[in-house]
């Protein structure tokens, strides 16, 4: 039986009803499933995955196997479902960006589930690829919202509506089809009158569209953060029957009440909102991808001989100093501080180096009684050794830059005393910087040291590979050489290396440990 997995995203309209913003195939879930196993399957997925319905569907249709066709192996949930319910499973991978899928022979006992884009499939090529077709399809339904496209003069924005509270956006321009420059859309606007709306319509290109910004003051926020709801459904058989399977709510990474955002102007002369400000209300490329770990091209990394090399000059296979804690830390997990100074210095080599431009940075000012005050910036996804004020002096944890707050202590390696010392965070702000950035992956040990400031040759931030994917269930606690048969689709993130790891995993698809 042939089928395709589709996802539909929803947001709340002012009247409290849901509006479907788009339909996608080749869909991914924003769910962390890296450690999903047959043993923890039910406890981990039951809140959002109706696995019992899928099991019933398999039984009712005499199906004994699921074959997935997916880009990059985004099929973890179905693989583990099959393990749990004792169905056969086969995974067929297609490349990222591939527009067609390989032919798979249909048979009565197999559910062939496509989780990849196919340009020859009607749902994909019309309704998933082209927002004009999707909005035109639903335009007469109560759940549609006002939109304007250049194509055929399709315009259902009949009246101008002010921002609901004078602050939030009232209109958004989105791309009509995929393939646009990632940072360009969405563009948020706070228009003040109908003339500005008409001018925006006149300036509209054929591959973009205007949509009213949808917001309900009581339903659109959770913990002061906007969110979207997502459902995933299997469309199957010649009659396009529907099996709704996955439902969850994805919370925005930036709060509407974040008052540490730095930007030049909230709104420009065209009434377009700054991208960082817009990130409070609408997920942007920056708020979705700014959490990737990255380093400035001019940042300097410590080598085993004590010299420094900048990220821009760093070469593949170049040796760098690693630091391996005997009691390694997992993200967010509290650890005994005393063990932080129990480490082994060693040598790793660079396995990948990926460049990107631009991102959200955290600006940090921190002070130490002996060394004084330093200010620096880093990626909001970069991981730091942090002690929170409410933690005991004996406890530390790895935390992302975006999680750091005033009053936290950042632990910094002091080469002079061969130990970590504490800096108290005095100031924090967030800012988009259009800089050349690098993500690296080193192996075998993933932690490395980046010079804090050129004025002091002994102080280093302890950082680590961008991806703590634990692909193949590897953790620093079980050194990589002991990993058992990792598979590249296990990590559940986005990666050109481990297929899903953001470009800097410790494990590589073409060379698994």
């Amino acid at each position: 039986m042939r089928s395709v997995l589709i996802s539909v995203d929803f947001i709340y309209k002012k009247d409290g009803s849901l509006h479907p913003t788009e339909l996608n195939t080749s869909t991914k879930y924003d769910l962390s499933l890296g450690d999903l196993t047959k043993e923890n399957f039910v406890s981990e997925v039951s809140e959002f995955f109706d696995h019992e319905s899928l099991d019933l569907f398999m039984i009712d249709n005499n199906l004994s196997k699921i074959t997935t066709i997916s880009a990059g192996g985004d099929d973890t949930i179905f693989r583990v479902f099959c393990e749990y319910y004792s169905y056969d499973f086969e995974s067929i991978l297609v490349g990222f960006g591939q527009r067609t899928v390989p032919y798979v022979e249909d048979d009565d006992s197999t559910l062939i589930l496509r989780i990849a884009y196919d340009t020859y499939a009607l749902i994909d090529d019309l309704y998933a690829r082209d927002n004009y077709e999707f909005h035109n399809l639903i335009k007469d339904e109560s759940f549609s919202n006002p939109v304007t496209f250049v194509e055929n003069g399709f315009d259902t924005i009949k009246e101008f509506e002010q921002s609901q509270d004078g602050v939030i956006p009232n209109y958004v321009i989105k791309s009509r089809t995929p393939g646009f420059i990632a940072t360009y859309y969405p563009k948020g606007y706070r228009l003040e009158n109908v003339n500005e709306l008409e001018n925006l319509k006149k300036s509209l290109g054929s591959d973009e569209f205007i949509t009213r910004f949808e917001f309900n003051s009581s339903l659109s926020l959770e913990d002061n953060r906007t969110h979207h709801l997502r459902t995933m459904s299997i469309i199957y058989g010649p009659s396009l029957d529907v099996l709704n399977l996955i439902h969850y709510k994805a919370i925005n990474s930036v709060s509407t009440q974040n008052d540490l955002l730095v930007y030049e102007n909230e709104v420009d002369s065209n009434k377009e909102l700054d991208k960082l400000f817009l990130s409070k209300y609408y997920p942007t490329w920056y708020s979705k991808n700014g959490l990737n770990y990255h380093s400035d091209s001019s940042d300097k990394i410590l080598k085993p001989d004590g010299s420094l090399v900048s990220f821009v000059d760093l070469q593949i296979e170049e040796e760098i100093q690693n630091i391996f804690y005997e009691s390694p830390l997992e993200d967010g997990e509290l650890q005994d501080y005393d063990k932080i100074n129990n480490f082994i210095l060693g040598t790793s080599s660079v396995k990948s180096k990926t460049s990107i431009t631009g991102g959200i940075f955290v600006n940090i000012t921190a002070t130490n009684e002996i060394h004084g005050t330093f200010s620096w910036h880093d990626g909001i996804g970069n991981t730091y050794l942090i002690r929170k004020p409410n933690q005991s002096e004996k406890e530390v944890s790895w935390l992302k830059g975006g999680d750091i707050e005033i009053g936290d202590e950042v632990l910094i390696y002091d080469r002079n005393v061969n130990s970590t010392i504490s800096f108290l965070v005095k100031d924090i702000s967030f800012e988009i910087k259009e800089k050349d950035l690098y993500m690296i992956s080193i192996s075998p040990m993933p932690q490395f040291m980046v010079q804090l400031n050129e004025s002091n040759s002994n102080l280093f931030l302890v950082q680590h590979n961008a991806c703590d994917s634990r692909a193949g269930r590897c953790t620093a606690a079980s050194p990589l050489s002991n990993c058992s048969q990792p598979t590249c689709s296990d990590c559940g993130k986005n990666s050109p290396n481990c297929q899903n790891c953001g470009g800097a995993s410790t494990v590589f698809c073409n060379n698994p440990v």
């Binding site: 589709i6 539909v8 929803f10 009803s17 849901l18 479907p20 339909l23 924003d30 769910l31 962390s32 809140e47 959002f48 009607l122 749902i123 309704y127 399809l137 639903i138 339904e141 759940f143 959770e222 913990d223 002061n224 953060r225 969110h227 709801l229 459902t231 459904s233 469309i235 009659s239 396009l240 529907v242 709704n244 439902h247 969850y248 709510k249 994805a250 919370i251 925005n252 990474s253 930036v254 709060s255 009440q257 974040n258 008052d259 540490l260 997920p283 708020s287 979705k288 700014g290 959490l291 959200i360 955290v362 909001i380 996804g381 992302k400 975006g402 999680d403 707050e405 924090i428 967030f430």
Partner: protein, 39 residues
């Protein structure tokens, strides 16, 4: 509750039965529209 001034990785939460029902109903309608147009 997450601090307002943290920029955190996008988090996922459970939806209510009513939200689930409303989403399913809309998805079913969308597929019905596709069926009407193409089958």
């Amino acid at each position: 509750m997450e601090s307002n001034n943290k920029i955190t990785k996008l988090k996922s939460r459970k939806v209510s039965p009513n939200q689930k029902q409303e989403m399913n109903s809309i998805v079913n309608k969308i597929v019905e529209l596709i069926r009407e147009k193409h089958l």
